[in-house]
């Protein structure tokens, strides 16, 4: 099936016969929807769960509660204390990873076929009967507080936080999801129970499974695993009021190299201009070594080890951002080069050759992402979170191909705002004036 997907997506570039990836849309007997790709060649299953809302659902005054809850959910459940739970998981050689970000709480599980039922039972215990024992709360709280203290000394974190504070006003996005020293210190066991009730609910979960499991078995598994979760949780967050303006902000920090986070407003994932903007970003500062920013800032001038830009369509706010690090005495020049590239693209778009190269890269590399069960499951939940149809894997490359030079020139003129770029610099930059 992975082969079939590859063929479909590479058809425009490579001489594979067109075909469709076999994503099965499964609905369990109990009504839980999931996407499944069956591959029985390795005897394990990767299961991905995503709960929309994530850390942005923290109750007022409880910033960091959902992050702490996520860190502690595996620290004892049902009759098992933290050590008992870990021993049971080890004995099954299963793995469960819980993590949370601004928009989603993620559960990533790998389970061997031979003991899958027992592995699901144990995961269910964590999702439905976590103990949040006081000693476990204290132990993990100490780890979170230590991390927060280290964040205060990390220029990359300081720059990112200052940028978010400027960008997102009163929205939870403006503050760190792991909370503050004060807010985390005040959290109680009751806050953990409340944090779980706010986030882990059936009405906001998306599911993907890839590997050695049939649709029938998956349906039964999901009814068992998720059927006892509460129907709903806290209302999903409102949109953020964006507050970014052009200029430079300096966060004073004594370190030899400044870290820069920059950006302005971006665009939604379902914006009709998303694909032109995505390709434009690929050319401007996307992952590759050949991007304009990488060529100008690193290759031509040696001002940085790496510079990237990215479109960040969060669920409730959109930014077009970038980042790099440069020595304190060179960072002012690097910022000017970045700004000049923004102007150049806004005024002149891109060239035919750049567009063609970006298209061949994006269309050719797309199927290479479908690399392994865990990776595929991750892609499938991401598509569901973006409200994309399963058929997107077969139409996506055509959408890339359809973008014209004119589309990009128009979107670059409308959506890149050189004067609106805010550069947040953490370090001791030389000859760089902060502005308001």
């Amino acid at each position: 099936m992975i082969r079939a997907l590859f063929a479909a997506c590479a058809a425009l570039l490579l001489a594979f016969p067109a075909n469709a990836v076999d994503i099965q849309e499964v609905t369990s007997p109990g009504g839980i929807k999931a996407w499944l790709v069956e591959d029985h060649s390795i005897p394990f299953t990767a299961l991905e769960l995503r709960f929309r809302g994530g850390a942005s659902l923290d109750a007022p005054g409880k910033r960091g509660a959902i992050n702490l809850m996520t860190a502690i959910i595996e620290e004892g459940a049902g009759d098992l204390d933290a050590q008992g739970f870990a021993e049971a998981r080890e004995a099954l050689a299963a793995s469960y990873r819980f993590s949370v970000g601004d928009d989603t709480l993620s559960v990533s599980a790998r389970m061997l076929t031979e003991n899958r039922d027992a592995a699901v039972d144990l995961l269910k215990l964590a999702l439905t009967e976590p103990r949040f024992d006081v000693d476990a709360v204290e132990r993990v709280r100490g780890q979170v507080l230590s991390g927060l203290q280290s964040d205060e000394q990390d220029p990359g974190t300081l720059a990112g936080r200052a940028f978010n504070a400027l960008a997102f006003g009163a929205h939870p996005y403006a503050t760190p999801a792991d909370g503050t020293l004060e807010s985390v210190a005040a959290l109680t066991r009751e806050d953990m129970l409340d944090a779980k009730a706010r986030t882990i609910a059936r009405d906001r979960v998306v599911v993907a499974a890839v590997g050695d499991i049939t649709a029938e078995d998956l349906g039964a598994m999901l009814d068992h695993l998720l059927g006892d979760l509460p129907e709903t949780g806290a209302p999903l967050p409102d949109r953020a009021e964006m507050g970014l303006t052009g200029g430079v902000t300096v966060v004073d920090f004594d370190t030899p190299q400044s870290v820069v986070v920059f950006g302005h407003e971006g665009l939604k994932r379902d914006d009709p201009d998303f694909f032109p903007a995505y390709i434009l970003n690929q050319i401007l500062g996307g992952g590759g070594f050949s991007s304009r920013l990488m060529q100008e800032v690193r290759e031509a001038r040696g001002l940085t080890y790496g510079v990237y830009s990215y479109i960040v369509p969060r669920d409730h706010a959109e930014t077009w951002q970038g980042s790099f690090a440069s020595s304190n005495d060179r960072v002012a020049e690097a910022i000017e080069v970045v700004r000049a590239e923004w102007v150049k693209a806004a005024e002149g778009g891109v060239t035919e050759a750049e567009l063609e190269a970006a298209k061949t890269y994006l269309t050719g590399s797309y199927p290479l992402r479908f690399d392994g069960n865990g990776q595929i499951a991750d892609i499938l939940v991401g598509m569901q979170l973006d409200d994309l149809p399963a058929d997107y894997v077969n139409t996506r490359n055509a959408e890339v191909e359809a973008v014209t030079l004119e589309d990009i020139a128009r979107v670059a003129a409308e959506r890149l705002h050189p004067d609106g770029l805010r550069f947040v610099v953490a370090g001791r930059p030389v000859a760089l004036e902060a502005s308001n």
């Binding site: 780890q143 230590s146 370190t255 020595s327 590399s365 199927p367």
Partner: protein, 464 residues
């Protein structure tokens, strides 16, 4: 030369049906290029890697960082490929590429559609012998590696601390020198230094080609003979022998203070044996020891004793890198809980190790770890990239394909007594460095000279 290894793991306790494991074929071209083919036909993609048996620890004194510097310069161009075109061509064919340097190897790779294998082979073979470099390239790229050092090392007190610890660990072996180089030597690296390095070491008889993915060994052989076959081997390839450690007779202790440290901690590393060809048993016992002591915060010996039975530690770990050409290190770390001093934390760590040496291995924990090791062999098959890296690192670190394939069985054969014997042997403070990472008052301690990379055993990777 065609040796087809089909390797099935025995999963005695775990699995009902035997699992077919990775499908590996090896052969060697007449010019000395070793080739490893790992088949995985689930997706029509391929990972193409060339690993050179040369790394930072092969540098001459005074030019630290040249192995990594040359790795960057390898993307500059040849007579066939215009400057900076290499990655552009890979990307234009839907692929991605990168490279990394470690103490023992330097590797280049592309991941691309399987029908483009010949294209990337052609380009990789071309730059193995035909690199063209200018003074301007050398100057710009030197600035880039200095920024890389600033970003990865000088901006991170934990990385500086690690660099100082490794320097203290090795009295005579070059593993004490960071992969990325000491800044004052990096600043002096010249085009000639890079070219000397390149001409000496970049040749088919010093390289291993690994092709993993949707390929047939016969086709790989045909393409390898076409593209790599014509390359001349290096006639003056030096024997790979580094200066070795004398007996380590004195415990070393270092304190590193930096105002940017928010969370102090203690790390101790002991000189430790590595996996050797045909003799991997002691390294296997040490691998099990690291898992027992620090593999999981809830169930490991250190976690139980220091975070559960007592609340001395926020976090503990034990780490050991078994794949290394020369001597490796076995490490222990403790992050103290609030109110616990580094001295108290270190004393508690020592007491926990002493108790473990007296109490022996918990049989139930030992069995769970073995279960996970067997399962990891199943999970590992999901990543053909990971398998390719496993072979590449091993074959450039003195091991053979047979050693790689025997490793799960060697781990399986480790007994509790083997672990205790390995522990008794390795925990000798005369061969150890104990480091305290401490917070300096801002402005109090001297600013560290822009110096020292993350754990010297970690590959430095350059994004391409």
């Amino acid at each position: 030369m065609w040796i087809r290894h089909i390797w099935a793991v025995a999963l005695a306790l775990l699995v009902a049906a035997p699992a077919a494991a990775e499908d590996v074929t090896t052969f060697t071209l007449e010019n000395g290029l070793e080739v490893v083919v790992i088949e995985d036909h689930r997706a029509p993609a391929v990972t193409h890697m060339v690993w050179y048996r040369v790394g930072a620890a092969d540098e001459k004194p005074g030019v630290s960082g040249v192995a990594h510097y040359l790795e960057h310069l390898m993307f500059k161009g040849t007579e066939e490929i215009a400057p900076k075109e290499f990655s552009r061509i890979v990307e234009a064919n839907g692929g991605s590429d990168n490279a990394f340097t470690s103490q023992d190897y330097t590797a280049y790779f592309q991941r691309i559609a399987a029908d483009r294998l010949g294209l990337v082979m052609g380009m990789e073979a071309d730059r193995m012998r035909n690199l063209v470099l200018s003074e301007a390239d050398a100057a710009t790229e030197r600035a880039v590696i200095l920024e890389e050092r600033s970003q990865r090392t000088d901006s991170d007190p934990a990385a500086l601390f690690s660099e100082q610890r490794m320097a203290a660990q090795f009295l005579n072996h070059p593993y004490g020198i960071p992969i990325i180089g000491w800044r004052h030597e990096m600043e002096q690296l010249s085009l000639q230094d890079a070219l000397d390095w390149y001409r000496l070491y970049y040749a088919p008889n010093n390289a291993i080609l690994i092709v993993a993915g949707d390929v047939e060994p016969a086709e790989v052989r045909r393409l390898a003979e076409e593209h790599y076959g014509p390359l001349e081997p290096s006639a003056n390839l030096p024997e790979r022998r580094r200066t070795s450690e004398p007996p380590q007779l004195a415990e070393r202790r270092i304190e590193f203070s930096d105002p940017r440290v928010a969370q102090p901690y203690v790390v101790r590393s002991y000189l430790a044996p590595e996996r050797n060809a045909g003799a991997q048993e002691e390294a296997a016992a040490l691998t099990m020891l690291a898992d027992l002591l620090g593999g999981n915060q809830q169930t490991s010996v250190l976690g139980r004793k220091l975070s559960f039975e007592t609340q001395v530690a926020l976090y503990t770990s034990a780490f050991y890198d078994a794949v290394s050409l020369d001597a490796s290190t076995f490490g222990l770390a403790i992050v103290p809980a609030p109110g616990v001093s580094l001295a108290e934390a270190e004393a508690a760590l020592d007491a926990a190790i002493a108790e473990f040496l007296a109490e022996g291995v918990d049989a139930a924990q030992f069995e769970r770890i073995k279960t996970q090791i067997r399962a990891d062999e199943i999970y590992a098959r999901d990543s053909v990239d990971g398998l390719a890296r496993r072979y590449g690192a091993a074959l450039t670190s003195g091991l053979t394909v047979a050693d790689v394939q025997a490793w799960p069985d060697v781990l399986e054969g480790v007994t509790e007594a083997d672990v205790m014997a390995a522990a008794a042997e390795v925990f000798d403070k005369r061969r150890a460095v104990t480091g305290w990472l401490m917070q300096a008052e801002a402005g109090g301690s001297p600013e560290p000279e822009a110096t020292p990379d993350p754990a010297a055993a970690d590959p430095v990777e350059v994004m391409q």
